[in-house]
């Protein structure tokens, strides 16, 4: 396998578009992923994350724009690119009637790896995924977390340079998610480039060096989690609860205090550089909230600010 030139990005997309009939799933996006980084697509359901991932995975041809993966064109070199990718799809594609080990063996054969190599590799991967003691169990009764770890182990059978993870921890309990994150950290440390989609902010903050926020098929923000918070939120958020059903009335009374106030049904969010100072200013205006909480801004604040609070179904 030829080493990839360091200066060239591993993935580069220009005006990348995916249309299904009249519906535009991805509306002309630009991004680059560099070797060794963990890159995230963050966005609500229907933002176009999975469509983008499927194009990167060379299973869905772009409708327009250019896409280069490992310096190759998916339209011309799809199979060659896929041979160097690992893919963890949103829905597991395991054969639940085969054993854990057989799933890896069969998958290794898809990449044309000799049986002896796959056998050896399977043992390593089972160890990595902490599934060695379940190696000869049928997949069907395993827990969601185990199945997900198996899917990840399987995706590594061909020693991929680039690992695509579409919502890797959706539907898992907190313990299972942390085990999975730990495994992904190890992969990243060993030099595998990770590209993942998620709608979990904590996941994005934990794993991603850089991310883009997608909404309605477009990229609405780009940067490291820290940069995004700095650009699209303030350093801190002051949460105020008042003894009233209508918090909008209180927002009026606080007008001009901070650059941005958000009214939620049960509280006000004041975006501020210094929560304590702002809390004092609120009291100085003669207001007495039921509760006051000053906290750091999170990616979730950025996310909700950029993509709105309306439920998308």
């Amino acid at each position: 396998m030829a080493p990839h030139p360091v200066d060239r990005p591993l993935i580069s997309a220009h005006q990348l578009t995916k249309q299904f009939g009249d519906f535009t799933a991805v509306g002309g996006i630009d991004f680059e992923v560099r070797a060794g980084e963990a890159f995230g697509f963050l966005g609500p359901n229907g933002a176009g994350k999975s469509s983008t991932m499927r194009m990167i995975g060379c299973v869905s041809p772009p409708s327009a724009g250019t896409l280069r993966i490992l310096g190759l064109d998916p339209a011309a070199d799809g199979p060659q690119i896929r041979g160097r990718l690992g893919v963890v799809p949103q829905r597991d594609t395991l054969d639940e009637e085969l054993t854990v080990r057989e799933n890896i063996l069969v998958y290794g054969r898809y990449f044309g790896l000799p049986r002896s190599v796959v056998r050896e590799r399977a043992a390593e991967l089972l160890d990595f995924a902490q599934l060695t003691d379940r190696a000869d169990s049928i997949v069907e009764p395993l827990s969601g977390g185990m199945k997900r770890r198996l899917t990840i182990a399987r995706s590594l059978v061909n020693n991929p340079e680039l690992l695509l993870l579409d919502e890797p921890t959706t539907g898992l309990d907190p313990q299972a998610r942390h085990v999975l994150w730990d495994r992904l950290f190890r992969l990243k440390r060993s030099g595998v480039t990770l590209v993942l989609t998620t709608h979990y902010m904590d996941e994005a903050e934990q794993l991603c060096d850089r991310l883009v926020v997608m909404d309605g098929g477009r990229i609405v923000a780009e940067g490291s989690p820290r940069q995004l918070i700095a650009e699209h939120a303030t350093r801190e958020v002051l949460e105020l609860r008042f003894p009233a059903d209508d918090h909008a009335a209180y927002a009026v009374k606080l007008d001009g205090l901070v650059p941005r106030i958000e009214v939620l049904p049960d509280r006000l969010l004041l975006y501020t550089e210094d929560g304590d100072t702002t809390a004092k200013a609120v009291h100085d205006r003669g207001l007495a909230p039921l509760s006051v909480l000053a906290r750091r801004s999170t990616l979730e604040d950025v996310f909700l600010h950029l993509t709105g609070r309306t439920l998308i179904d």
């Binding site: 499927r54 893919v87 594609t93 069969v106 054969r109 898809y110």
Partner: protein
Amino acid sequence: MWARAFSYWMASYRRIWRGSLVSGFLNPVLFLAAMGIGLGALVDNGSAGGVQGVTYLTFLAPGILAAQAMQTAVFESTFPVLGAVKWQRQYHAMLAAPLGVPDLVVGHLVFVAMRVAITSTAFLLITVAFGAIGSWWAVLTLPVAVLTGLAFAAPVFALAARQDGPGGFNMLFRFIIMPMFLFSGTFFPVEQLPAALELVAMVTPLWHAVELCRGLALETMTMVPALGHVAYLLLWVGAGLWLALASFRKRLVL
């Protein structure tokens, strides 16, 4: 590349081959016993005195051979294909690897052909044991059975890849496969049918398969009709393959 897809189906088959072997030829053997021996006694001793100059069992056995090839192939091409598209999603796993749509279709079809070859061999051995087939020409019915299987499997692949549930398969079994099984010359010569229906029967691929198998087993087949039957079955394989590739692309490459 298709061999990689085939190797998956083999791995999956290794778990279930004993059960599938028994169920795969038990059914045709029951038909052979009930019809060939039970009903056959009436036919042979009645005014007909056999069919086309042979005992009913001898007449029936090659017909059942062709029909079970059809049934095995159709069964293997319905739920397994839909499952690989929609439920277990094995095809999606293959497409994430370097395999392409033609590899998926060909690899799976070759597996179906192998399944047909296995059940047909088992059935043929039983018919020899029953004394229903005695000619060495009958060995040639094995490739014919595989060809028959493919002539059904390929178009059924195309159909299955477009389904969302088992509804379409029930229609297929009830309104196409079952009538074909009964009326395409398996149990009686199609000349017994009204002229219009006889023509319909002769358009079905199963009739051509039955004619070929029977002609070989009874040593009555001649070259030109044989080539015609083979060509007609190949036509179904080719057209079915083309349709299957289109269906698979439409369903899997979005």
